[in-house]
């Protein structure tokens, strides 16, 4: 993204934003609600066109949505097959599909429909679908925010595991600071509208990281400080 600005009517959402995401990198965007995080993803996916600036992307982009991104009329395995549409040979497609179901530990649920699954299982199917086939870049729009706290923690570990097996470039949007600190190679803290990057934080510690790891806690401190959410920022 080079010098990208965007506005909805007279509301300027992004102002001259520059962002380079390297191949294989996990970049997490955090920021106050309504600051334009989702707009950035929509611009990256090509769903909306920027008012000005240039966006270049290399490779096939897929998005994991907050919830209900699965087609409810398709079974688990049929939903995963969407990601394998580019594979021509049925035998190979079948094999890939089985591997993916195993990868997300949903063996036995292939013929279930999304409404028969729990929220966490559904998001796992979404992950399998975007990882399927030839995808390169994954955009994640608060993918775990509709889950309860414990499932969220579990899904973070799951995502780390899946990315180990199938490395992808990831742009991850969240308001969850823990999530950012646990998952990111690079955290970008966004300012209020119009969004600019007000802090860039590199976390080098290898994944999986525990929530209680030193590096994670340090990163959380930094982010919270930047957002002005630490007690030291708010003297009583």
């Amino acid at each position: 993204m080079e010098g990208v600005s965007h506005n909805y009517g007279s509301v300027s959402v992004l102002n001259d934003l520059n962002l380079v995401v390297n191949a294989g990198e996990v970049v997490v965007l955090v920021g106050p609600s309504g600051c334009g995080k989702t707009t950035i993803l929509n611009l990256l996916s090509g769903y909306i066109k920027p008012a000005s600036g240039i966006i270049t992307r290399e490779g096939i982009i897929r998005t994991v949505y907050q919830q209900d991104g699965l087609f409810p009329w398709l079974t688990v395995s049929e939903n995963i097959s969407l990601g394998l549409r580019s594979l021509k040979e049925p035998g190979q497609r079948e094999k890939e599909k089985r591997e993916l179901v195993e990868l997300i530990h949903l063996e036995g649920f292939e013929n279930h429909y999304p409404h028969q699954l729990s929220g966490g299982m559904r998001q796992r199917v979404e992950l399998a679908r975007v990882l399927a086939g030839d995808s390169d870049i994954l955009l994640m729009d608060e993918p775990f925010s509709s889950l309860d706290y414990q499932s969220r923690l579990r899904m973070r570990l799951e995502l780390v595991r899946l990315l180990k097996e199938r490395p992808r470039t990831v742009v991850f949007v969240t308001h969850d600071i823990e999530e950012a600190a646990q998952l990111a190679d690079r955290v970008l803290v966004l300012s209020n509208r119009p969004a600019t990057i007000c802090r860039e934080l590199r976390i080098d510690s290898i994944r999986p990281r525990d929530l209680t790891d030193h590096a994670v806690i340090e990163a959380m401190k930094e982010i919270l400080n930047q957002l002005g959410l630490q007690a030291s920022n708010n003297p009583i």
């Binding site: 996916s45 769903y47 949505y65 087609f71 409810p72 009329w73 398709l74 279930h112 429909y113 409404h115």
Partner: protein
């Protein structure tokens, strides 16, 4: 096809087991009540009917007694007419309904996806929707003469517009996320329509089918047989007992066909539409 129940341990399936004796007691009569209630209602209604005709509240020619209706049932069945009429009616309804589904659902899909088409056609659709199909009777006869055709035409006119409108509004309420996902996975054109739009509206289309379906009084004219014709003929002969007998058949057939259409809602790939 049957949906397998989740039995694996560690899943989040909520087993709704009766927790206490108290709730068990509540459930026991509750399980039979749904069948018992309508039966009791019908029995009560029959009793009321019997009572009213017994005390001669209305003269016998204006309100046939249950016994006389039963007699005319026997007559019609023995004469072989009733079965013949049922088959004739069902055939016409089936043809009219199938034509209307094959034209109305695609029309609704198309209208739902194109704003300009909606702007152009929706006022006309609404206009025709509010015309009673009975208003078309003279045209039906003039255009299609006698036989099955005018009746089929009337059934089509009665069901096409509600079906097209139901499908159209269902398309309008498809969550935009499905189209975003479809775009992510390169669904375009016809494939988008058949693989995304259509399955997304299917539950509501089935409801639309159930609502718009009906054995209309299409055969009161232009036909020489059929249930509607039976009522018409009974009226002409002032045989209200026979008319009631046909009315009962129409009602029962309607219920039966609705149960049949309701089976469509049990298809595994539309269940999601009814369980949220």
């Amino acid at each position: 096809m049957e949906i397998k129940k989740m039995t694996r341990p560690g899943t989040t399936e909520k087993k709704m087991e009766p927790l206490q004796v108290k709730s068990k007691q509540h459930q026991k009569p509750g399980s039979k009540l749904p069948f018992l209630l309508p039966v009791l209602m019908i029995l009560g209604f029959l009793l009321l009917w019997y009572f009213i005709s017994y005390i001669n509240l209305f003269p016998a020619y204006a309100l046939p007694s249950p016994a006389s209706v039963l007699r005319s049932f026997k007559q019609e069945i023995l004469a072989g007419r009733l079965l013949n009429d049922i088959i004739a009616s069902l055939w016409r309804v089936a043809v009219g309904f199938v034509i209307s589904a094959f034209l109305g659902i695609p029309a609704g899909l198309w209208l739902g996806q194109h704003l300009r088409a909606r702007q152009a056609f929706v006022p006309a659709l609404n206009f025709f929707r509010f015309l009673s199909p009975l208003a078309w009777i003279p045209f039906a006869i003039l255009w299609f003469h006698i036989g099955d055709k005018p009746a089929v035409f009337l059934i089509f006119m009665a069901t096409f517009f509600p079906l097209a409108i139901a499908t159209m509004s269902a398309v309008a309420t498809i969550p935009s996320i499905y189209f975003r996902v479809a775009k992510d996975y390169n669904y375009k054109g016809i494939e988008l329509l058949t693989r995304v739009t259509f399955p997304a509206v299917l539950p509501e289309v089935i409801t639309g089918l159930r609502v718009s379906y009906g054995i209309v009084a299409a055969e009161m004219v232009g036909c020489q047989d059929g249930l509607g014709y039976g009522i018409w003929e009974a009226r002409n002969g002032l045989r209200l007992d026979s008319a009631v007998c046909y009315m009962i058949i129409i009602g029962l057939l309607g219920m039966g066909i609705d149960r049949l259409l309701a089976q469509l809602t049990k298809l595994p790939n539309v269940r999601w539409g009814y369980e949220r």
